[in-house]
């Protein structure tokens, strides 16, 4: 009996232990605005995010001034006029991955899961649900998604003068590689 109990204990210890929390400090977010006169694109490679596989909690912090544009004038307008980044230095997301248990059991499979929570941009918070693709690859979690945001939803004002240069709807692409905490 004792031998059996001992063997069971060893067997349990031999089970692969998956880390509970995953994080990244170098996540990538790109936003694109396609307007009649111009295509504007900006990249941010310093996105911070944490996933808790146990609860499904997922959080993002995006430093607005870390977005890089090709043209100085665009970067200036983006920061000073549209996002007012000195007043609202961060965009954040706080929510939950639905059906996160699919990721816990997984090995190298791709999952399309819904992520629901509060998205805060320019000081305005809106509830959103976004479908994202998750891959658990050895000790990493890869997550990616693309979704659209209506600029007006977050009280971002585009002056009439540049209306043909900046679109009302902006496409956001998220690309993250999480490591165990």
């Amino acid at each position: 009996m004792k031998a059996f109990g001992f063997c069971l204990l060893i067997a349990v210890c031999a089970l692969p232990v998956k880390a509970q929390k995953y994080f990244t400090r170098d996540g990538q977010i790109t936003f694109t605005s396609e307007a009649p006169m111009e295509k504007i694109e900006a990249d941010n490679n310093k996105v911070s995010s944490v996933i808790d596989l146990e609860t499904g909690d997922i959080e993002f912090a995006v430093l607005i001034k870390s977005f890089h544009f090709e043209k100085a004038l665009m970067e200036e307008h983006f920061n000073e006029n549209y996002l007012e980044s000195s007043k609202y230095p961060k965009a954040t997301f706080k929510g939950k991955i639905e059906n996160v248990s699919a990721l816990k059991a997984s090995t190298s499979a791709k999952h399309a899961l819904n992520v629901s929570g509060d998205l805060t941009i320019h000081g305005v918070t809106k509830p959103v649900t976004i479908e994202a693709q998750f891959i658990v690859d050895k000790q990493m979690i890869l997550a990616s998604t693309t979704f659209a945001v209506l600029v007006a939803d977050y009280d971002i004002e585009i002056p009439k003068v540049v209306r043909d240069n900046v679109s009302k709807e902006v496409e956001i692409t998220v690309d993250m590689q999480y490591k165990p905490l």
């Binding site: 400090r25 170098d26 490679n45 430093l63 870390s66 890089h68 043209k71 970067e75």
Partner: protein, 138 residues
């Protein structure tokens, strides 16, 4: 009359050229700019850890020079290469996103543990305090 038209035309072309130049010019390098503050990596992190809003008022969007010991050199392309400075904390460091090419940075022969001063624009704190478009201060 013709003279006036001629002058106006030249001005219009010059004006157009200037506008085109201004519209398309890339973001300026930090290299020529003077830092508003010079701090140690520990000081910078302490300011943000104590009160983020106050720290942002002081550092956010400003050109700052940060002195610290190199914790990690992270390769990357374009504006992605990073020099991570030790700020005395396990989870939070100073992440300096470099304007320099990774290959050319390696030629400096700087390594982990070396003291270095980097100048860039503070973009705030997420997990790390991020300083952007950094150049090495010789």
């Amino acid at each position: 009359m013709k003279r006036v038209l001629g002058i106006l035309l030249v001005l219009a072309i010059a004006g157009g050229g200037l506008a085109y130049y201004l519209y398309n010019k890339p973001v300026e390098s930090v290299g020529s700019k003077k830092p508003v503050h010079t701090v140690s990596s520990e000081e910078l992190l302490a300011a943000y850890s104590e009160n983020e809003a106050t720290a942002n008022e002081k550092y956010l969007g400003k050109v700052i020079a940060v002195k610290g010991n190199i914790l990690e050199i992270v390769p990357g392309e374009g504006l992605e290469m990073q020099v991570i400075l030790d700020a005395g904390d396990l989870m939070s460091r100073i992440s300096c996103v470099m304007e320099e090419d990774y290959e050319s940075f390696l030629e400096r022969k700087l390594k982990k543990g070396d003291a270095v001063t980097l100048k860039g624009i503070c973009t705030g704190m997420a997990m790390d305090v991020v300083v952007d478009r950094c150049v090495v201060v010789e």
